[in-house]
Every structure is written in C-alpha cells, then in structure tokens.
Symmetry: C2
Subunit: 157 residues, 2 copies
DNA sequence: ATGTATTAGGTAGTATGCTTATTAAATATC
DNA sequence: GATATTTAATAAGCATACTACCTAATACAT
C-alpha cells in the first residue's frame, strides 16, 4: 500500500480553512448589524476613504486584488450607491473613485465595529498567541508579496 | 478628520493575503512540473484516494467545502478522467467516487512533490517560526471549525 | 404501513479571483 | 511629429465558494 497523504496538516489547506472561517465570521457579524458588505467591499471602501480620488489600478494595488476583480467590486459598490466613479479629467483612461455621503456615514459607523470583531476571527487563542500569529502571518505576507498574482503596492496607511 | 482605519493590520485582510500567496505558490509550482491541478482538486483527489468509494457529501465534509462546490469540482475531475462517479447501489441518491488508474499514478507522483513545496508557502520564516505558525493556525481552525459555513466532518486521516 | 423529516445531489444566482485578449489613451522614443 | 510602448479599463472565460430552493430517495416515528 502506498503512503497515504492527508491534506489536513499541509499549510495550504490550513490557510484555506482559516480564510474560510475568517470570511464566515465577517459575513455573520456584518449580517448581525444588518449590513451586506463583503470583506472585499469593506476593504475597498476603507481604501477609497483613506485615498479619495484614487483610480481603480491604484485601489487594486492598495488592497492587493488584480484589476479585473476590482472592476467588478467597484461595479457592485456603484450599484449600491456607495461609490461614485467618474472619468479622470487628467487621464481619460482612468476612473476616479470617491465615497458617496451614504458610504461616508456607513464607514464611520462600521469601522469601529469591524475593528472590534476582528479579534473574534482568531478564536481559541490567548491574547499572546493572537499577537504571535498576526506577527508571523504578516511576516509571510511581506516576504511573499511578490509571489502573489496581485502584489500590494503603494503605502499601507 | 475622522479616524482613518487601514485594513492592513486586520487579521481578516492578512489571512486573505496569506491565502492569495498560498494559492499562487501552489499554482506556480504545479505549472512548473507541468500539471494543471488546482489546490481544491488536489485535496479532493487526496481524500478520494484515502477513502475510496466515498460519496460527495462525505468528501465535502472531509475537505470542508460546501456540497455545491464539491459537485462542481467533481464535475471537472470527471471531465479530466481523474475520477469515476457512479450511482451507489445502496443509496440511489448518492454518487460513489473512486480514482481512475491515471489519477492513482498521478497522485503517486504528485504527493511527495506537493509535500515538498508546502514549506515554500510559508516564506521568510525560520523553521521554528514555521512550526509555531502552523500550530497556531491549526488551533484557530480547530476552534473555529463550527463557525465556517462548511465545517470539516469525519476523520482527518 | 404510512406520513414526516432528513439527506444527497442538483439548478440558479451572487461574489470573488484569476487568465488572456482587446480597446483606447497616455507616454517614450526616435 | 510619427511611431512604438506602456498603461487603464473592460470583455470573455474558468474555478472556487457560497445561498436558496428543488426533487428524489431514505430513515424514522408512530
């Protein structure tokens, strides 16, 4: 009988499960406060809020999605009337993104709540373990940034 | 000026980036050895190999995907002639899954290689840090299993 | 044994997350 | 100043990863 390999101890599988739990907790907490904002949409809104007037390519770099995905995310945010998209007068290829007043109000209400439940994602850990885990994951993300298909670019303010 | 919150230090965002890097490394390494097996397909093949004759719902539980996703994954594995799907004689609702001889040979060749490059996913860490990271991520995955929409069920052999 | 509940797999629909290819506009180069 | 390259966005297509709902088949409870 050949050696049987289980995926359950492979980093790739564990990371996928962690991501699955993370998004489930995010979605559940968001639903609990009556909102239907996805993790990707929240990150995009936060980045547009910090960098108003940025274009889609810059947004993609800040949050580290590829540009095609960002296009779809912005489509949905525009449909929800949370983002205004206009052609840049400086560069007519680019689309300038800003939050609508509704989105400003929404993010002001949402950000502290999202901050607060982030710790709940790393369930079952002591405070110290949580710190260690975040530090080590961040280290891998920094070292592996260029390996991903949509590396993070620009500041991390 | 309101407090501006960046997602870059939020666990949810870091986990998503980690997952993004993980799948990119997997895809790149797989391409390097001339195969087009996705992480999900590899995990499914490994589970079917360990539990030949299992049905799709059992497979979904073992690898912790929802049943609809597994249905699509199995569709593609059947199309690639890597998995045989037949109606169970015991329960005519169920589909019994087994590897084809091609898939057996493929997995025998693939498993040591995939095992070997798993460490490359956790780039930029010392061996000790890698151990710690895997241990802490596993702890969260165990504690948070029930929180995900598709919890892992059955053994982890 | 019979009606109820549960379960396996499916369809339809939404949202990522990526690929390659195309269009249009800006920039670099000669 | 004409041309070549690069860049921003989109289109089309594939593969997850879910929800809600549907049908068929099985289990179970009385």
């Amino acid at each position: 009988m050949a050696l049987m390999v289980s995926v359950h101890r492979m980093p790739g599988h564990i990371i996928r499960r962690l991501h699955q739990i993370s998004t489930a907790v995010f979605t559940e907490r968001m639903a609990r406060i009556g909102e239907e904002i996805t993790p990707v949409q929240f990150a995009s809104l936060a980045a547009i809020r910090t960098h108003p007037g940025l274009d889609q390519a810059t947004l993609a770099g800040l949050v580290a999605y590829d540009r095609v995905t960002i296009g779809g995310v912005v489509d949905r945010l525009v449909a929800k009337k949370l983002v205004a998209r206009t052609v840049s007068p400086k560069d007519r290829r680019a689309r300038v993104l800003t939050l609508t007043p509704e989105a400003e109000a929404l993010m002001q209400a949402l950000e502290p709540k999202v901050e607060a439940f982030q710790a709940d994602i790393l369930v079952g850990l002591t405070g110290e373990e949580r710190e260690t885990l975040i530090r080590l994951m961040s280290k891998v993300v920094e070292a592996g940034n260029a390996l991903s298909r949509a590396p993070q670019t620009g500041d991390d303010a």
